[in-house]
Amino acid sequence: MASLPQRRPSQRRPSPEEESRASPQRNLDTSPEAQSTTPQHPQTLPINHQTPVSTGEERTDDVKTPAPSPTAPSDEVQTCWICFSDSTEDIPGQTSPWRDPCPCALVAHEACLLDWIADIEAPAKNSRARTLRAPKIQCPQCKTEIKLTRSRDYLVDAVRALERLGARSLTPAALLFVGGSLYQSSLLWGVHSIYAVFGVEDGWRILQPLFHNVLRAPLEVYAASPRDAADKLLGLVVDHLVHWRLYVGVPLITPMLILSRTHLADSILPVLPVLFFATQAHPRAEPLDFTRWPPSASLCFAVLPYIRQAYNVGYEKVWGEHIRRWAREVQPRSTQTATEEADENGVEGGMLAEAIDPDTDDDNIFEVRIDGDLWEEWGDNEEADEEVMEPLQPVIQPQQQEQAPPLHQPPLAETEADHAQPPPNIPDNRPPAAARPAPAAAQPHNHEHRLAISTTALAETILGALLFPTLASLSGSLLTFLLPKTWVTSLPVHIPSANWLKSLKGTDTTRVTGLLQTKWGRSLVGGCVFVVVKDAVGVYVRWRLAGMQRGRRVRDWNGVGGVGVRPSGGDS
């Protein structure tokens, strides 16, 4: 018969053709030996379909046979399932040997198999096939693992495993890096805010445990002396645990400030002061003292959201309708009907964008959409689908100047004057600072509009939020200059007084007794005053704008030329 296939030493699993290999004839499916295996045909029909009939012979084989009778590889025609050539086309010197690596009947040239395996292990099509371990090579039909003998170099294996590990951990590492950067910058800005509001001494006292850790040398520097490294590590862990409020709280100031400008966290923030009251630790086991004046810093900041909401409601009740009316007057008349409809639906003032669906969410009426900074007040909010005219933006603003300023103050630790509690209740104080939703003005609580936030508005919001503590602090300092000395400096005066006003001025017994005598108190009050003043100015401006709008007249051309107008009785 034709050239026999090159044979390996017999590790071949028996296949039916081998049984009949004793006979020099080829197996025909009519041969008696082969027929013993015909019951197995149906299993391997798919394979049989693709077996080429180039040799013109029927093949009965490629069937799993349970009868093991290892015989020498026969002169049976084998077909490589990869290249589809069969043993009849073998050239003795060139064709690579046949291999049968798995129990099923698929056989192939060794070169073909190695090619295919190489493709599986290092696929040309990159990323998706990257797994942590080398992919298993399985026979496509019987799924048995195909084993290779390879020289094992442990170093190579180790390096490849490391490479795969590295590839897998790329994303988490990148995220960690970005997160770490954000954390550090938030921390830094939180520190700045605390200093701004609390002043130098108090701020230092609060932040002191934090500082030496912020700037410490990284641990790997101590790798040379392991004991030092262990010590430092232990110290670091303990420090973090003890002062966890600092490490968690200070960085959180920054995002809270920003969040309070949006209404992303509005549902949570008013709740936080309640949590604060519930969880506050009292070092001396005294109940929260509401009657003592001045109140502790934590109490103040915790109460701030409620004060703010009260102010918002009051403001809306008193001025809301007026502001809306004035805003309408500044608009061209064609848009006024639409805005009237919007107003009827209880939309907060400033919903001048007629394209906008009226916002019927009742909660939002209390929401403060604050644009705290003075220079942003007159700014142009380029919310995309706002069809509000630009001059209307300022009109809308005062609506939304609420108590943003005072309430933006970052949660701050109590001063030691109030409690001897070393770790500041920063997280607890945060709610007050946070509870100021203040999207850029004229941005209704409409979901469609959230999507249309322009980057300019976003930048304004964020910057405004971040700068707020500084502004409050500056306002507080301004108060220092404006108010009488006795109000704002702490004197050891021992005049008992029942009058709360006097105690505000700090003429009570203890050293620091007035809200205004502490730097943070001044900042707090300064911020409130800032907001109120800004609102007042805003209201005034809108009123004037509306008034001025009414008084406009177009002037006729006085020079040469022009059509001239017959004086008419009517007036525009």
Binding site: Q50, S54, I82, C83, F84, S85, D115, K125, Q141
Partner: protein
């Protein structure tokens, strides 16, 4: 490598010119690297029996290690449309695990691909296009083999 692919393709061609399952017919294979087959689906109301669909196979030099690129063609003369199936986009790209490097192995061949596609169509009950079809057709620039399909629907 190209030698192996040519040899194998020649063998497959020879076999295909013999007998083929019903509904599958060879249209052209003058270019050994690009074949066209016609497919028709019996017994499924979504696909009228007289309607044929044109498949184009493109083989790379590393066939059969690498899967061929198989797409449906839309022709005017003779009229061939893209069949309606939740895994077939209107530009003819087929989302089938068999055709992707993950699901392909050299044990398949042109005929088995045709049979698989035929059975995928024959067993289909949803006469719809894939979700995001318009967007995909509009914005896709990759060759089918470069697209990372998510094979999540085993029922079709």
């Amino acid at each position: 490598m190209a030698g192996m692919s040519s040899k194998r393709l020649q063998k497959e061609l020879a076999k295909i010119q013999g007998t083929l399952p019903p509904g599958i017919s060879l249209v052209s294979a003058e270019n050994l690297r690009e074949w066209q087959m016609d497919l028709s689906i019996p017994d499924n109301p979504i696909y009228p029996p007289e309607e044929k669909y044109r498949l184009r196979f493109q083989f790379s030099p590393s066939y059969p290690i690498e899967a061929p690129e198989v797409v449906f063609l839309s022709l005017a003369n003779p009229e061939r449309k893209i069949p309606l199936h939740p895994h077939i986009y209107t530009n003819g790209i087929i989302c089938l695990d068999l055709l992707d490097s993950q699901g392909w192995s050299p044990v398949h061949n042109v005929e088995s691909i045709c049979i698989s596609i035929q059975s995928m169509l024959a067993g289909n009950t949803k006469a719809e296009r894939p979700p995001g079809d318009a967007e995909f057709v509009r914005s896709n620039r990759q060759r089918p083999r470069d697209i990372n399909f998510l094979y999540h629907d085993p029922t079709v």
